[in-house]
Symmetry: C2
Subunit: 250 residues, 2 copies
C-alpha cells in the first residue's frame, strides 16, 4: 500500500490501533524488543483488529525510520483524518470543547508535545494552517504519544477565517504574546469555551490573528532570559485552565 506513512513508538502505535478510523497495512516489531505490557497490548489489539504483525531484525526498523527512537515498533498505517471546522463546531455546540490554534509551529517535536498536553488538558480540537509550519507527520505522532488520535485535527488555509468563525460561535479567543499586559492566570477560562492561539517558534503570532484576540496574555518570568519553548508555554496556560476548571467544580 503506497502513500501510507510509517508511525513509530509504542504509545503512538497503541493509540492509532485504538482509533478505528486508522487502517493498518501491517506492524513490524523488532525481534530484540523487550516484551513489556505495551508490546503485549499492541499484539492483542492487532489480533482483535485482524492486523498482521511481523517480527523483524532491529536493523530493518533502523533502515525504515533512520535516526529516530522507534522503540522497536513501526506501523504502516493510513494518515489521520482531518476534521472540518463547521462539523467540529456543530458536534460540540453544547459541550466543553476548548481549541488550540497552532499558528505555524515549525518543529515536529513542539507540535507533538502541544497536542499531547492539549489532550491531557481536555482540549478537543487543534487547528493548524495548511501551508505554514509542520503538518501531522511520524515525528508529531510519536512525540504526541499517539494523542493525535484523541483530538480533532483541523487543517485550514486561513486561520483568520477560523478565528472569526469561532468568535461567531461564542468562543473567547486568547493569544499567548510576550508583549501582553495581562498574565495568563488573571483571566477566567471557565465561563465559556476558549480558543488559545500559540505562535510559531521564531515569528510568534501573525499580526492579523493577534488583532482578533479577545485577550492577550503573557507568562511572567523570574529572569529576563529570552523565552520559553512554545510547547512548554502552551502547557503552562492550558493547565491553568485545567486548575480553574477543577476548582470551579468544587
Amino acid at each position: 500500500m503506497t502513500g501510507m506513512p510509517y508511525i513509530y513508538g509504542k504509545n503512538a502505535v497503541i493509540e492509532a490501533l485504538e482509533d478505528c478510523n486508522r487502517n493498518f497495512n501491517k506492524i513490524l516489531i523488532s525481534e530484540n524488543v523487550h516484551n513489556d505490557d505495551k508490546i503485549e497490548t499492541i499484539k492483542s489489539l492487532a489480533k482483535s483488529r485482524d492486523i498482521v504483525f511481523q517480527f523483524v531484525k532491529k536493523e530493518k526498523l533502523n533502515q525504515l525510520v533512520p535516526n529516530t527512537q522507534h522503540q522497536g515498533v513501526i506501523a504502516h498505517v493510513s494518515p489521520i483524518t482531518y476534521k472540518d471546522l463547521d462539523e467540529f463546531i456543530n458536534e460540540n455546540r453544547n459541550s466543553y470543547a476548548p481549541i488550540v490554534i497552532a499558528d505555524g509551529i515549525e518543529d515536529s517535536h513542539n507540535l507533538g508535545a502541544i497536542i499531547r498536553s492539549s489532550v491531557c488538558a481536555g482540549v478537543k480540537g487543534i487547528i493548524i494552517p495548511s501551508r505554514r509550519g509542520v503538518l501531522i507527520n511520524s515525528t508529531v505522532e510519536k512525540t504526541s504519544a499517539g494523542a493525535v488520535n484523541k483530538i480533532s485535527v483541523i487543517k485550514l488555509n486561513s486561520l483568520v477565517n477560523a478565528v472569526q468563525k469561532l468568535k461567531e460561535n461564542n468562543y473567547w479567543v486568547i493569544a499567548s504574546d510576550h508583549h501582553a499586559e495581562d498574565n495568563y492566570y488573571d483571566i477566567d477560562y471557565t465561563g465559556m469555551n476558549f480558543a488559545l492561539i500559540m505562535g510559531a517558534e521564531h515569528a510568534g503570532i501573525s499580526k492579523s490573528l493577534l488583532k482578533l484576540a479577545d485577550f492577550k496574555v503573557k507568562i511572567p518570568m523570574l529572569t529576563n532570559f529570552n523565552s520559553l519553548n512554545v510547547s512548554n508555554a502552551a502547557a503552562i496556560i492550558l493547565f491553568e485552565s485545567v486548575k480553574q476548571s477543577l476548582n470551579s467544580k468544587k
Copy 2:
C-alpha cells in the same frame, strides 16, 4: 583543538559567547544566512572576544551537524563547566536558589527544554546523574536556547546523596509523581528553597529518591490520556512556583 564539541543554533551560540567561561575555537556562519539581529549579535560578540568567525557554504555546516536545525551557525567551543554541589550550596546559602533534579532524562530535547524553562522560572541549578540519561550535548544546548550557560549544571554519581545533602541544607524536596495525592498547586513554594525532582520519560522517579521527598505532587488532568511530556510537566510545576513567588511579593 580536538575534544571540543560543536554547538549550533543562534541562541545557543549567543548565550555561550556571553559566558566567559566558554572558550571558542571558531564560529562558522553560512554564506546564505539571513543577516538578522541575532547574526549581528554573534558577529559583534565574537569581535569583542577576539574570536574568529568564517563564512562557509551551507553544505559544510550540514556536513558537520547532519539532520539538525543549525540555523546557519555552528561554533567549536569548550564544553560547559560542571559545578560542585557543595560550592553551589555555599554560594547560594542566603538567596533564592531553587534546583531541578532531572532523574535520568533520556531525550536531549526534553532535557534542553527543562533547562530552558528552569532558567525562565528563576531556578539556579540543575542536577543530572553521571551515568544514566543524557548529559549536556549539542542538542541539549540548542534546545535549551543557550540556557545551559545561565544555570549551574551539577553532575553527580549519586542523586540520593545529593538529595540528602539538599535536605540538610534546608531544601524542601518535591517529587513529581503520577500517583501522588496532592496537586502541584496545593503546596507552598515560597517559604524556602525547593528542589523539584522530575523522573525519566518511561521509568519515572527512582524509588530511592521518591522515598526521600518531602512532598509528592501530581498534575491533575481532564482526561485519562497516558501522561504529559516531562518537560511540559516540569514547566507547569515550575511556573506555579513563579506565580506564587510573584503573588507573595504583591
